[in-house]
């Protein structure tokens, strides 16, 4: 029977043959990285795989997919002696959920040398923080002359029909509503009343981030809540946007990477985690995707930092998710979003 790993390996071999590359086995071994595709996967390849890992003798194979199938695969494979991934990239919330099944190796400085450079507030026992961003208010600068200063300001009737939300970010939109209603990362109860108020203010819902970007561009809507990093990319693509870090606080999202306990090449996996924290690689992700470095020794150029980073005062308002609370309430959050808010 052909396993996924053998299939990926064979595919890589075929690709190498086609490109005239030698197919000799890399001395560090093969490292299978479960990751998103698109810009993220491409940047991993351009900034980490080729310049850092390949010269060290590792052969990197990407197992590209969305987070949900990857989570499911990690949970389904947890009883297997050998898993299909050596590195699993997930958001902090997803990594928490998977880690509850004791899937990941513990991460410490003995395996990941650059761990001591990581900002203390972003450290985790089961993952390295690769990149992070914060949930802010984005607004169209042509239409909004007096921008809202808080999530609560988005409930001002003057914005009726002019606020757009991405359906896929329903947990984050729910959190914004909770914060506006006096709740927080550990209390989403006020969100339900606020979401229904938002609904009566004709808030528009778009199926994807891309559809929301198109609506902001065509000025169908003027305001949204979104990751600062994505706002940066949209600005780069020509949409006239600016951001506000809300008064109530700015929820953080950290994209992490972990080594599964049943990884075939754990040493390779940890070497990859170390490479992800490389200062130059971190700067590259900030420049291309607008996500902020998670290490102390990767300063950004002033102009870039102004667009993607938080000031000291804003950083103080960064809200770390309550993973256990969010996971325990996930079904209620989804049900309310679908059954009441979108009804």
């Amino acid at each position: 029977m052909i396993s996924r790993r053998h299939f990926l390996s064979a595919s890589a071999g075929v690709a190498a043959l086609a490109s005239g590359m030698p197919t000799a086995r890399a001395e560090g071994g093969q490292v299978v990285v479960g990751t998103w595709g698109g810009d993220y996967g491409q940047l991993l390849s351009d900034i980490i795989d080729k310049p850092i890992m390949t010269p060290k003798g590792f052969e990197i194979v990407q197992d590209v997919g969305n987070a949900d199938p990857r989570k499911t695969k990690l949970l389904a494979e947890r009883q297997s002696r050998r898993g299909s991934m050596d590195v699993a990239c997930l958001s902090d919330n997803d990594a928490y959920i998977v880690s509850q099944s004791d899937v990941f190796e513990r991460v410490d400085a003995a395996q990941v040398k650059r761990l001591d450079k990581v900002f203390p507030e972003l450290r985790s026992d089961i993952a390295i923080p690769h990149i992070y961003s914060a949930q802010v208010i984005l607004y169209n600068t042509n239409q909004v002359k007096t921008p809202p200063q808080s999530f609560a300001d988005l409930w001002d009737p003057k914005w009726r029909g002019k606020i757009g939300l991405a359906d896929i970010l329903y947990p984050n939109n729910t959190l914004a509503a909770a914060l506006a209603g006096g709740g927080g990362v550990s209390n989403l109860d006020p969100a339900e009343k606020k979401l229904m108020e938002w609904r009566s203010l004709d808030v528009k819902i778009y199926p994807s981030n891309e559809a929301l970007a198109a609506a902001l561009k065509s000025e169908e809507v003027w305001l949204t809540t979104m990751w600062l990093a994505r706002g940066f990319m949209w600005k780069k693509s020509g949409i006239p946007l600016a951001h506000v870090v809300p008064k109530e606080g700015t929820p953080a999202i950290v994209f992490q990477a972990s080594v599964p306990k049943n990884a075939k090449n754990k040493a390779g996996g940890f070497a990859y985690l170390d490479a992800m924290l490389d200062a130059k690689a971190q700067g590259g992700f900030a420049d291309k995707m607008g996500y902020v470095p998670t290490v102390t020794d990767a300063p950004l150029p002033e102009d870039l930092a102004k667009q993607v980073s938080l000031t000291e005062a804003e950083r103080a308002r960064l809200l770390k998710p309550d993973y256990a609370y969010a996971a325990g309430r996930s079904q209620r959050t989804l049900d309310f979003w679908n059954k009441e808010f979108k009804a």
């Binding site: 949900d68 989570k71 499911t72 949970l75 389904a76 959920i97 509850q100 099944s101 359906d167 896929i168 329903y170 819902i205 778009y206 199926p207 198109a214 065509s218 169908e220 996971a327 325990g328 996930s330 079904q331 989804l334 679908n338 059954k339 979108k342 009804a343």
Partner: protein, 276 residues
């Protein structure tokens, strides 16, 4: 001779029945946000799916859309199928290929085309605004109208081809005989063509109804986040909620309703034609 069906049966058994048994077992488990699911033998998910007004409303909406689309498709397909069934030109095979052509484009790609056409700043609104027909863009995207148009575009070829095969087998002489006895064109259609093409209407309608009930891509892409049909609701539970047991129970509920209507339709048609 019976042995000839063995390979196909084995394939269906391995690729359809096997996974369905597995999914049925999953539907009896219980959801856990951190463990994915916990082993159980509980009908809770079915009870919840059947008694929750939210899912009742979705199943009714799905049935409504599927029945409406089937009826509209039948009305639109019949004239084309009649023309195709009666065609004696040497170009007939090309026309059949042209009818099949839309099926060569995947549902997602086809829906993307509709999105470009229906968007606020899409082709249709741009043309209508330029011509001065409307002063503000029409809201077509993310409406039931858009989904119905999208679904009919997907299923129309199935209905045309099923109907045309049956119409082709109706002897032309019967139409001539009816006309010779003084029947008008409309009367020939109602009293001769339509009753004799009954098996095609039944087969085409059932095929199209099943496809409509299971619509996913068209509903998601053209209906938008607020539009509710069963297949996207199943996906939501599996992928966004990670609630496999509930997703599996909803999938079986969709299967049961679709099968009930299909069997009912087949029996009703069979009775009518046996009696007729």
């Amino acid at each position: 001779m019976a042995l000839l069906v063995v390979p196909a049966c084995l394939l269906v058994l391995a690729l359809l029945i096997g996974p369905m048994i597995l999914m049925f077992r999953i539907s009896l488990n219980q959801f856990s946000p951190t463990q994915l699911m916990m082993q159980a033998l509980s009908p809770d998910n079915y009870i919840k799916a059947a008694t929750d007004p939210y899912y009742q409303q979705i199943i009714l909406a799905t049935l409504g859309i599927a029945l409406l689309c089937t009826l509209l498709t039948l009305i639109l397909a019949f004239p084309a199928a009649y023309w195709l069934g009666r065609m004696e030109s040497r170009w007939k095979s090309l026309v059949v290929i042209a009818t099949l052509f839309p099926l060569l484009v995947g549902n997602v790609v086809r829906s993307a085309g509709w999105m470009a056409l229906f968007a606020r700043d899409g082709l249709l609104n741009t043309v209508l605004m330029k011509l001065g027909v409307v002063s503000a863009p029409l809201e077509i995207m993310y409406t039931t109208k858009a989904v119905i148009i999208g679904i009919i575009a997907v299923v129309l070829p199935y209905m045309i081809l099923t109907l045309s095969a049956v119409i082709e087998s109706i002897p032309r002489d019967l139409e001539y005989a009816a006309a010779n006895l003084g029947a008008s064109g409309a009367r020939v259609f109602w009293r001769v063509i339509l009753p004799l093409s009954g098996p095609g209407v039944a087969a085409g309608s059932i095929l199209v109804f099943v496809l409509c009930m299971n619509t996913y891509a068209t509903a998601v892409l053209l209906g938008g986040p607020r539009f509710k049909m069963m297949a996207p609701a199943v996906y939501d539970q599996f992928v966004r909620g990670n609630n496999w047991p509930m997703g599996a129970a909803l999938a079986f509920m969709l299967l049961a309703v679709t099968m009930a209507f299909t069997v009912f339709g087949s029996v009703a048609f069979a009775r009518k034609y046996r009696a007729g």
